[in-house]
């Protein structure tokens, strides 16, 4: 049964022709055309920065295209606002949710409705729709008490209440455990079978092959090809997406040496009322090994990073760096001991956006001879920055370019390079390849592996399970502020890690139903 084949009979629901959007420094969409039929799940595939989000914002009326036409159910439309898009029957679930944490589910939904509905009636509607599509939520729960996956349900239900004819999902699975992904896919298939069209934005090839009927692939703002994902392999899709082969990096077995970082029952109450409290976190990282910490963001990742870097202080002995208690030392003192740190936020934390790359080297590199007697030595600073740019193949004007002028991937290469060339003994990396294109991601992962092979201890916190399976010697999962036991990637499965990601550490590390790779199962 080929849903695309069936759908050819009906008229397309949405046709985009020649959509173009230019920004001051980049053409985000260049003459993009695309067509979706009723009941079709259509993937929009592309790397970060390929123009997927801009295109979706144009359809949803947030961004105005510079040129091009939108044909909706055979009618030309100029969509200027999201509320107009909603009236036409277009719904969108964003990657970053827009919910008020202090309000309940029904209050959040009521805010987005264009007309007034009584609370009882709305609550009943929410319950009905959410159950129908296998997304149970309690309309009277407060949003801050909900997990990220549950919040996504609220967003989806909010769209479904308006009975959309087209649902846009922007990278919906980045916040879900592998098991929750399966549930979401069921919901989407069900919606499609009722005639709703779905635009599914992602860069995850397995998911697209498992779910989507057809795909439009974007590269550098242009359509680089169209495909029926089921008939393609990951390799052929990746070629369309990045215009080249996927390189692979490999981890040679290596005997880890002395302990460089030790957390001993680290417990830390959250400073942010909606943050996560860290509970009894114990781990060790040795010289020459990479410890990967998996888990969905919002489960204490931010808090753990802050505790490790020293931006949040704890009691001394809870954190030991090279055998020395450092829990009560500030970031500068920890750096002096040989810790370097790549934060998940690049612009604004890892780098100062308006400053040049050279001055951004000074941000953490002052002890590399860039400062003597309090005076800055610009030549030392610039030559350090130049070396980082050269060794990590950072694409930029030169070391005087502002950090904000670099693409996400290039800035991340620069930050990883800077922290690497400070010759750390222990390096902590948060979301190394978030929003980074495939080529840069590969280079960054290899750089981390090279560091490990030189005997540096690394701790990597990442949401990308595939990535952690490639680069980690050992894996642990952070869920609800607690840390799972550690396991070697070869001795576990995506399924088991997925179960741990929902906080169930006591499930048998088994090979049962949860043991198999969920995505393989449905593919």
């Amino acid at each position: 049964m080929n849903p695309v084949g069936n759908a050819t009979d009906s008229k397309p629901r949405l046709v985009l022709t020649g959509i173009t959007k230019r920004y001051p420094s980049v053409v985000a969409n260049d003459d993009i055309s695309l067509s979706v039929r009723p009941g079709e799940i259509h993937a929009v595939l592309g790397e970060n920065g390929a123009g997927k989000s801009t295109l979706m914002k144009i359809i949803y009326g947030i961004t105005k295209p510079d040129a091009g036409t939108i044909l909706w159910n055979g009618q030309y439309e100029t969509i200027t606002t999201p509320s107009q898009a909603r009236r036409l029957g277009i719904g969108m679930v964003f990657q970053h949710f827009s919910l008020f944490e202090t309000l309940t589910v029904w209050e959040n939904i009521a805010l987005a409705l264009d007309e007034r509905v009584s609370s009882a009636k709305l609550a009943a509607q929410i319950t009905e729709v959410s159950e129908k599509y296998g997304l149970p939520i309690d309309p009277y729960r407060l949003v801050h008490s909900m997990s990220v996956g549950e919040r996504q349900r609220v967003e989806i239900v909010r769209c479904l209440l308006q009975e959309p004819k087209l649902l846009i999902m922007d990278e919906p699975t980045s916040v879900l455990t592998p098991q929750a992904v399966l549930v979401l896919f069921e919901t989407l298939r069900r919606l499609a079978s009722e005639g709703c069209s779905i635009l599914y934005i992602s860069h995850k090839l397995d998911e697209i092959r498992a779910l989507c009927d057809s795909a439009t692939v974007l590269r550098g703002g242009r359509v680089s090809g169209t495909a029926i994902p089921k008939n393609e392999t990951n390799e052929s899709l990746a070629r369309l997406m990045i215009g080249g082969e996927l390189a692979v990096c490999s981890l040679m077995p290596r005997q880890p040496e002395e302990v460089r970082l030790e957390l001993d029952h680290l417990s830390l109450p959250t400073a942010d009322p909606f943050g996560t409290t860290l509970k009894e976190i114990s781990l060790t990282v040795r010289s020459g090994e990479i410890l990967g910490i998996a888990g969905v963001s919002g489960n204490g990742q931010k808090e753990l990073m802050a505790a490790l870097s020293g931006e949040r202080l704890s009691t001394g002995p809870m954190i030991k760096l090279l055998g020395q208690p450092v829990g009560d030392l500030n970031p500068a003192k920890r750096r002096e001991l040989g810790l370097t740190f790549v934060p998940e936020e690049r612009l604004g934390r890892g780098a100062v956006p308006p400053m040049s790359l050279a001055y951004n080297a000074l941000l953490t590199g002052s002890r590399k001879g860039m400062v003597q007697n309090g005076m800055i030595y610009p030549t030392v600073m610039r030559s350090f920055a130049k070396k980082v740019i050269e060794r990590f193949k950072v694409k930029c004007g030169d070391e005087q370019s502002a950090a904000s002028s670099l693409s996400g991937g290039n800035l991340q290469k620069y930050i990883v390079g800077r922290e690497t060339m400070l010759e750390p003994k222990m390096m902590i990396v948060g979301q190394p390849t978030w929003g980074v294109d495939v080529g840069a991601a590969q280079l960054i992962r290899q750089a981390l592996i090279d560091l490990r092979d030189q005997g540096v201890a690394l701790l990597v916190i990442s949401e990308e399970l595939d990535e952690l399976f490639i680069i980690s010697d050992r894996l642990m999962v952070l869920a609800e502020g607690r840390l799972s036991p550690s396991v070697r990637p070869a001795e576990t499965s995506i399924g088991q890690i997925g179960t741990w990601m929902s906080g169930k550490f006591n499930e048998p590390a088994g090979r049962g139903a949860a043991g198999a790779d969920p995505l393989q199962e449905v593919a």
Partner: protein, 369 residues
């Protein structure tokens, strides 16, 4: 025809320089209409405002004299503003510097001691620093808002001065005027240029502008403060202490404002009295912004603001305009500056209304099927 604001890819350096000039033009154009509406000859007002204060050595001396406190306060404020530390109480720190330094002068009395002047200057600096240390301590210890604390301390300092000149320090032979005895020769700053009233204070101020430039551009301390202002999270990530920045910013401004205070009372005023500053500390906030928070820029900002003060006085006397005229011009200047600053990060772009493309049937789809 429609206009839209579009974010620039990079902040425009040219616009950052042009913005204060545009603001000054906007101020003058508005002033032109305002004076015309009041029935005054705008040309004459402009002459009084912008030409007369530059027409003789004495007048230029007056210009530099008023520039001194504005420049000193502006330098200190700019340093804090760059680090997102909003000290708006330079006026209070100036007053406290005047009290401390003036107190030392009164203690020396009419002595010819060569120590009098250095100690007065030192006391002035320390007085301002102590006054600024209060908000620094409260902010770092209790996370109070320095905007409110510094502002309230202005009134406390002014009332303290008022109490002193009405009470314990009142000149016994002063016919009950609320002022202290006049300072002796050794306690008065010597005049820099004959035939004017301008003192060595302007030399100190210019020297400090140079020092501030070196500190902000060439030292790690200046870099740390700049990072704290541009990206607080990056400063925390790098391990730059926020508390240290707060202390430095406030103490430096306290010191320069305190110096401004003692230079005023030991210079043109020559005694302590109830009113020692026509709001230099507040006007210096505008000076710092007009100078783009850059030490060399602040010099020009201070000169312009000083001209406005003198012009306002001349217009009051020459054309019997109300004294509010100076404040009005200051306000206009800041108003236009903030408006023009928008175009550092944005540009105005002309767009044709609704680019409509003629509907035509779509046949060129490369269908997935």
């Amino acid at each position: 025809m429609m206009f839209v604001l579009e974010r620039r890819a990079n902040p425009s350096f040219r616009m950052a320089i042009a913005s204060p000039i545009l603001a000054a033009l906007g101020m003058m154009v508005t002033g032109f209409f305002l004076f015309s509406a009041l029935g005054k000859d705008p040309v004459e007002v402009f002459y009084l405002f912008f030409v007369k204060p530059l027409s003789s050595t004495y007048d230029i001396g007056e210009l530099l004299l008023k520039t001194t406190p504005l420049l000193l306060c502006g330098l200190g404020l700019a340093m804090g503003f760059r680090a997102n530390i909003w000290n708006i109480g330079a006026e209070g720190q100036l007053t406290m510097g005047a009290i401390a330094g003036g107190g030392v002068a009164l203690w020396f009395g009419d002595s010819d001691s060569m120590w009098a002047m250095p100690l007065m200057l030192l006391a002035g600096v320390l007085g301002g620093m102590i006054w600024a240390a209060i908000p620094a301590y409260l902010r770092t210890r209790f996370n109070t808002n320095e905007i409110l604390v510094t502002l309230m301390l202005v009134y406390i300092a002014q009332l303290a001065l008022s109490w002193l000149v009405h009470g314990p320090w009142r000149d016994p032979e002063g016919q009950n005027y609320p002022q202290s005895r006049g300072f002796g020769d050794a306690e008065t700053m010597s005049v820099l240029i004959d035939g004017t009233r301008v003192t060595w204070g302007i030399v100190y101020a210019l020297g400090l502008a140079l020092v501030a430039w070196v500190v902000s551009q060439k030292t790690i301390a200046g870099f740390r403060m700049q990072v704290a202002g541009m990206a607080p999270a990056a400063a925390a990530y790098a391990g730059f202490s926020e508390k240290r920045n707060i202390w430095i910013a406030l103490l430096v401004c306290g010191a320069t404002a305190g110096l401004a205070g003692i230079c005023e009372v030991a210079g043109p005023i020559g005694r302590l009295q109830q009113q020692i500053s026509p709001g230099y500390g507040f006007a210096a906030i505008i000076v710092a912004w007009i100078g783009r928070l850059h030490p060399i820029g602040v010099i020009f900002g201070a000169l312009l603001m000083s001209l406005l003060y003198l012009g306002g006085e001349a217009a009051q006397m020459g054309m019997s305009l109300p004294s509010a005229i100076t404040g009005l011009f200051q306000g206009l200047l800041l108003f236009y500056l903030l408006a023009a600053d928008l175009f550092i990060t944005f540009r105005l772009k002309r767009v044709r209304p609704a680019e409509r493309i003629d509907p035509k049937p779509v046949v060129t789809l490369k269908s997935a099927a």
